[in-house]
């Protein structure tokens, strides 16, 4: 194991106030530490000096909860492909490196403190249709509805999304299309999700627009940044599903759109 000496430029901000970069020296960082463990070490040192530690979101630290959310050297979750910040390790850096650490930036993700942002817009989009209306206890036997392996696998590909928001942070327009298309796409692909397909699609897309996410211009930064490698093909499908739903609506065959609610 070797030790790294790093120069950090960390975004510091309190909610509602302007932020700034703070220079923090981070000497003697073990290269086996994860990126968040490096932040733990930095915070311990700040506390020892009587300074305010850097606030950041994190929880499972095994790449599945989607809570960690840093922009590292301009890239959501940092330089390693298909990896969340918590699974990024310091051996990917060199001693002497300067590392820029920022929160996920988007109008729809306001900063709460330092690197912590408010991603509740994603929850509100899900509430606008990201579900199948089924009452507990009412379903038929699970095997009564055969679903081909290819269909089930495709739905699973979309379902792998961990809702971290890296797609939004990577996009110059802060578009949420990859997230919304994966969530809608999982359910729109499955036969169980067909009855509500139109109202789900319209509900989620309209809520997405209301939250202030930008438009998709098909440059696929989102796919490159996604730690779960969600494909932009889901965006294509969402556009198709949306076109069908909007035409049906225009023709008077209007689905009643679920409320966004909060």
């Amino acid at each position: 194991m070797s030790q790294l000496n790093l120069h950090l430029k960390v975004w510091r901000q309190n909610a509602g106030q302007p932020g700034h970069f703070q220079d923090i020296e981070a000497p003697d960082i073990p290269d086996h530490a994860s990126f968040l463990e490096m932040m733990d070490i930095v915070n311990e040192r700040l506390i020892a000096k009587g300074q305010d530690p850097v606030a950041f979101d994190h929880d499972c630290r095994e790449g599945i909860c989607g809570m960690c959310s840093m922009q590292i050297n301009g890239v959501p979750h940092g330089p390693e492909k298909a990896t969340t910040t918590c699974q990024l390790h310091m051996r990917k850096f060199r001693t002497g490196d300067t590392i820029w650490i920022e929160p996920f930036r988007a109008k729809a993700f306001p900063v709460i403190k330092d690197l912590v942002v408010d991603r509740s817009a994603f929850d509100r989009i899900q509430r606008a249709g990201g579900f199948i209306t089924v009452r507990t206890g009412s379903p038929q036997d699970a095997n009564a509805l055969p679903i081909g392996k290819e269909v089930a696998d495709a739905a699973m590909d979309a379902a792998a999304c961990i809702g971290c928001g890296a797609c939004v942070a990577a996009c110059k327009n802060a578009s949420a299309m990859l997230f919304v298309s994966a969530k809608a796409g999982q359910l729109n692909t499955l036969p169980q999700g067909k009855p509500e397909k139109d109202r789900r699609t319209l509900g989620m897309v309209r809520q997405m627009d209301k939250e202030g996410f930008g438009n998709c211009t098909n440059q696929y930064e989102c796919e490159a940044a996604c730690p779960k490698e969600i494909s932009v093909r889901w965006i294509t499908k969402l556009n198709r599903d949306y076109a069908v739903a909007i035409v049906k609506e225009a023709l008077g065959n209007s689905p009643k759109v679920a409320g966004g609610g909060d």
Partner: protein, 638 residues
């Protein structure tokens, strides 16, 4: 205090049906008048909140994460058991029930386990209807795999992320109800206390983790779905935020804490690599199908590259000790064997706490391509974390804490001894005894939330006048003052040591004295040191920042303060239980071959501890366990 588990009479297989018939009903108009507070939004909390709202109750649901979808249920990998018998391999409700009781080393409550096995089949139906993308066969039917040594294939799975998919299903049901107005969701909100009025749980105190505001919420019943206490060990496979606060504060308000010494250690985790380590990562147990576990025979070889240690100088510990099971020996046995080798000074890697899991022979036999097909994603994960390739050198593994079977005592209705306080999922004690089988945690969380509590909660509510207690009640004011004072106390302490430094020290101590193997001397020593550490924490902790804003250090301080108190009960329970069973191994109580030696004569009971105001002297209440269906026997894996 006498403990009445309210187990229905009649034959085992009929108890739940009978109980459903006998349970009270509340008419739909009246349901709307009841407010239920659900704390936690994992599998148990989300499924309970959604289902209770569907039934018409008003629900408030709280979670400390920024979204209910992030609760730690999400990290479960392997799968969920259900007695569907889709494989036609002889599975049944009775067999799942039998396996679970035996797997729990005869320390679970039979009636609860039978109910769990019964509703397991409904869970799969429910999840599929919600759009959970379980693995399927080409014909479109659901796929199964075997798991945890079971002789049947009853585990349903969604790649390596069954937990995430089931939680997203429950989260979608929760979202549906939030959108419909039945559930009010409070993310980034942590419960600090339970409020009792005339001995009933009638509310909670919370802290808003964004604004710092401490608030009171009144309800007609409280559901704790707040998970386990594995993080008392500091290092575990739990998420960083997992904590004992909700259940511990409830305990201090009168709820009995049962069997805290039942903790489960998983044998195949990536070892600790340094003192900066914040958590441990589990590697699927399936690796032991092809990997061979070994350490050097000679202590002086531990620093050598493994490839330079000749075959004759290697000790294949599991193959040597358990020739019939070899590397597939059960979890607890394998974990202890690794510990023994490391205690003997033959552990490998940083700190000497690791054993090799070697694939060289398998790669030679089947080729690297086949091994990559079987375990490629696990090898990648291992390389990401350790920087080492398991294709070129053996993996290093070591056991880690990952689940806790103990929890708050509940009756058959999932209500604690504190009327109105219900406890679901990992937070309660009832279903797994002294050891949980693989793929059973997800099953229990969803069984409790979707199918048990929606029926049984009415048995409490029917005797309550809805809305009879409001947050204006003096008890709420009192609780608010206590919580506010505690928060201020942390900030005012201005000592020299960080919260994490205390948590690390506590974790090392508890892991050392009350981890994989426990004995009287070690536990006695821990019981002496824990109160000392707790006292130092009170006077020497430093929590920067303020109480009226987002302050992660302050959140941690509250959680660690509770772990400091809880750790003592954990060790007391381990000291009291003079036997070995499941995850609780007392070195004084073992057969000559190292098997756990149970004492059914004296310890066939659930230990339900009562808080007395003196942390060192809780009162022990016993719920005797009787086994009608599955007869008490030595749990042998030979």
């Amino acid at each position: 205090m006498p403990l009445d588990s309210h187990i229905p009479s009649g034959p085992m297989a009929m108890k739940w049906s009978k109980h459903k018939q006998d349970s009270k009903l509340i008419n739909p108009k009246n349901k709307r008048k009841f407010t239920i507070l659900v704390v936690g939004s994992g599998l148990a909390g989300s499924s309970a909140a959604a289902t209770l709202s569907e039934l018409g109750y008003k629900v408030k649901c709280f979670c400390f994460q920024d979204s209910p979808r992030r609760a730690h249920s999400i990290a479960a990998q392997g799968g969920i058991n259900a007695a569907k018998n889709y494989q036609n391999d002889g599975d049944s409700v009775h067999r799942l029930f039998y396996d679970t009781v035996k797997g729990g080393d005869f320390r679970a409550r039979e009636a609860n386990v039978h109910r769990l096995a019964e509703v397991s089949v409904n869970i799969i139906d429910q999840c599929v209807a919600q759009g959970v993308p379980f693995a399927r066969e080409y014909g479109g039917m659901l796929a199964n795999r075997s798991f945890g040594g079971a002789q049947v294939s009853r585990t349903f799975y969604a790649r390596g992320q069954t937990g995430q998919q089931l939680l997203l299903g429950a989260y979608s049901a929760l979202n549906k109800e939030i959108a419909a107005g039945g559930v009010q969701m409070y993310p980034r909100t942590e419960m600090l206390d339970v409020v009792t009025v005339d001995g009933h749980a009638k509310g909670i105190i919370t802290r808003n983790l964004v604004t710092g505001k401490i608030e009171a919420h009144a309800g007609d019943a409280v559901l704790l779905c707040t998970g386990g206490y594995g993080n008392v060990f500091y290092l575990s496979t739990n998420a960083m935020g997992c904590n004992v606060t909700a259940t511990w504060r409830a305990h201090k308000k009168g709820a009995f804490f049962a069997n805290p010494c039942y903790t489960q250690i998983h044998p195949t985790c990536i070892p600790v690599s340094g003192d900066y380590q914040s958590k441990l990562t589990l590697m699927s147990e399936s690796l032991r199908n092809d990997g061979r576990v070994w350490v050097p025979k000679k202590k002086e070889d531990i620093g050598k590259p493994p490839g330079q240690i000749p075959e004759a100088d290697r000790d294949y510990i599991l193959e040597r000790k358990y020739p019939s099971f070899g590397n597939l020996a059960p979890r607890d046995i394998s974990s202890r064997a690794a510990k023994e080798a490391c205690d003997d000074g033959r552990g490998v890697g940083p700190g000497g706490r690791g054993v090799y899991l070697d694939f060289a022979e398998a790669i030679q036999q089947f080729g690297a391509k086949t091994i990559a097909e079987r375990y490629g994603n696990l090898f990648d994960m291992y390389e990401r974390i350790t920087g080492e390739s398991a294709y070129k050198q053996p993996m290093r593994i070591y056991p880690a804490v990952h689940y806790t079977m103990g929890g708050l005592w509940v009756d058959y209705n999932l209500m604690s001894n504190l009327p109105g306080l219900h406890v679901l999922g990992e937070a309660n004690f009832s279903d797994h005894g002294a050891n949980r089988l693989g793929a059973s945690a997800l099953m229990q969380g969803l069984a409790d939330g979707y199918f048990v509590i929606p029926t049984t909660i009415a048995n409490y509510l029917v005797h309550q006048k809805p809305g009879s207690v409001t947050a204006e009640h003096p008890e709420f004011k009192k609780a608010l003052e206590v919580c506010t004072a505690q928060t201020k106390g942390f900030l005012a302490c201005k000592g020299k040591r960080s919260v994490d430094s205390f948590h690390r020290e506590l974790g090392l101590l508890v892991w050392d004295k009350c981890g994989m193997a426990r004995d009287r001397a070690g536990l006695t020593e821990a019981l002496k040191r824990i109160p000392e550490l707790r006292e130092e924490f009170k006077t020497n902790v430093i929590v920067p920042g303020s109480g009226d804003a987002c302050n992660p250090e302050l959140e941690k301080a509250g959680r660690v303060a509770d772990f400091m108190e809880f750790a003592e009960l954990l060790c007391l329970d381990a000291l009291n239980r003079e036997e070995s069973c499941g995850g609780h191994f007392r070195t004084e109580h073992q057969y000559p071959d190292g098997e756990a030696k149970r004492d059914d004569e004296n310890f066939c009971y659930a230990a339900a501890w009562e808080y007395t105001g003196d942390l060192g002297k809780p009162t022990l209440n016993k719920e005797p366990l009787s086994f009608e269906e599955v007869h008490l026997a030595v749990r042998s894996y030979k």
